[in-house]
Assembly symmetry: none
Homo-oligomer: 211 residues x 4
């Protein structure tokens, strides 16, 4: 077995055909991951599902992990779009509404492609996660941090770092667990109640007096 190759693609597919090749490879990887899991995702398999020769695969990706990383990247970008926009909007609203937005956004994000999300979170060695992911997390962190800072006078908070960490971790974990393990908790009446509850969790935690 050869040594671990780098995670980034080999060349930025400039030409049209190349782009299509790269896309089908990433797409094939995602499909295999979802339908058959990480173990079954061998490079040969991926190439064949993508309708591309194994040689070409290695023309664009230095190795298996790089493909997985590309999938993570792509998925993260999609999340990013959902999250970034929503968060920026929320930043302009008062706490109670902003909190609700944050929660809703968390759930929304986890719903982008739950099957893929599950595989990525359950089967992919965290080592393969590219900078991308961190970027999003840090972005969210900063936005929330800044928001809390700006509203500090309305809030009952000592340590902004801790508060930011708690809010984000909590929302992420609840959205994640709800979408993946208790999807029934997100539909109908219960769904509304769940979002209400999580929002209340945040608001009461953050605000000076009772919410």
């Amino acid at each position: 077995m050869a040594r671990k190759p780098p995670l980034s693609p080999r060349k930025s597919a400039s030409q049209e055909r190349s782009r299509r090749t790269v896309d089908s490879l990433v797409e094939a990887t995602a499909r295999i991951l979802v339908k058959e899991g990480y173990e079954k995702a061998s490079t040969n398999r991926i190439a064949s599902v993508a309708g591309v020769s194994i040689g070409s695969l290695y023309q664009y990706f230095p190795g298996k992990d790089s493909l997985v990383a590309a999938v993570v990247d792509r998925h993260t970008s999609e999340l990013s779009q959902v999250v970034r926009g929503a968060l920026v909007k929320a930043a302009a609203r008062p706490i109670k509404l902003a909190a609700r937005d944050l929660v809703a956004t968390g759930v929304e994000a986890h719903r982008v492609d739950p099957d893929l999300h599950r595989v990525l979170s359950e089967q992919i060695p965290k080592a393969s996660r590219p900078r991308n992911v961190l970027a999003v997390e840090e972005g969210a962190y900063m936005l929330v941090h800044i928001y809390l800072e700006a509203h500090q006078d309305e809030l009952d908070i000592d340590d902004l770092d801790i508060a930011t960490f708690i809010c984000l971790t909590t929302v992420e974990a609840l959205a994640h667990a709800a979408v993946l393990h208790h999807p029934e908790m997100l539909t109908g009446e219960t769904g509304k109640r769940f979002v209400d509850d999580v929002t209340r969790l945040l608001v009461r935690y953050l605000c000076r007096d009772k919410g």
Copy 2:
């Protein structure tokens, strides 16, 4: 590729000598997992690190995942002892104290063997997780559920299931993230503040009026 072997051990070593063999195998698996990760934990490697022949390994474990499962089992048992006792004690106390206990217990549990815990939670295919784990989770769920039920009149809660889910998921996630990603947040003054904050998060969420 070989058929997926079952997760449960092949025979439970009765004689003294074989118990030692089994122990060193499980121990070796844990060490490799922590130091080199799931991928490196091949049966040959495990056997060699355990100072045991590969044949003996297969005498007691049908395959790699069964060994990993044994490690998870062992670790879960250790957690279990910490958690179970603490939770039962907490069950007898008023909410504010109980909440603090819950939080402390969560942090405590994650501190049992953080390195191992990290590997197990980040790299082990969920499929390898044995019944054991679920048992503990369900146990905790029940305890909390019962507690909330018993204190329902003091609380501001509509849906007990949602509340239980939120409390446990939140505490778990925060303890997990804190121990693994922000250990500095758990020491000294900040540490105290962190536990305070999380406790407050729970209490304010649960209780009727201001916390």
Copy 3:
């Protein structure tokens, strides 16, 4: 133990290079079978004797038995050519001559590659025998059956099936035993006498009056 892989090859080598690879694998298998027997014919051994990597072997053959089957196939095809032609010719001749042809053909067939034939008949699990073999046997059966049917009036036979079975089984067994266990019986004067005798055996059995 690995799952029993199928007997048929994985892909039929289209390019020049791969055809050579496949050929040397089959050839190597045959050589090992003859020189060292079935047990020694491991896939690694075969690949190494063929001067081919083990990976390539598995690219074309799903497992050991598939290689053996290919050898059987190849040998059977060679036999087939000898037998088919001779039998068809014999079909046009009167009984006494046809019988002698049948016997001679049987001996001839067993002489194609006696060493290989011995191994194949003595050491190869019948399960590894491909469709091919049956085809030849059935072909011969049909030819003889039809021949006897056509000459029924000259013959002293009640049950055509039994007669066909007896003739073929007998010739096969005698040719086989003679070639493999008593080659001396097939040379010079004795050889002639042997063929005469077997022919007489058939003719007297089949014909109405004295032979």
Copy 4:
């Protein structure tokens, strides 16, 4: 894997208990051979089916092949009893009857334990066949040879060796093929006709004028 050990048992089980142990081992081997085939007959398996420790197995048998050889031996002895007696009796009768006896004996012999016989003849490397087998074959050969010699004046035979060879090989092959591959040919009316036919095959071959 260790070198090929000898084929003969280690010690003649003199004591009662030893005898039972040896018997159950041979019996277990036979059962496994019949029910699961040669490949599945591992020494550990045999010992466990025999209800004997693997250590004890090696106390009595130097290796796996020795066990198989013992099974062959046992089976051959049983055949031997059937064959020897019948053949000796037949030796005192005129040709036509003797021939019929020979044929009947052949069929009878193959019916002793057809399942075991099939496995032994199809799956056991001929190398494992002990002296025993040869002894029976040679015994039969001698008896027939002597018989033909004694009746030479009634017969139409040049070469006694050839004739003996032909008779025995033919009967063996037909009985074998009939029992194993066409059992339906041995029952009822067809069964009688089959034996008649084979007898006629021999008689006409051997006798001076038409049979």
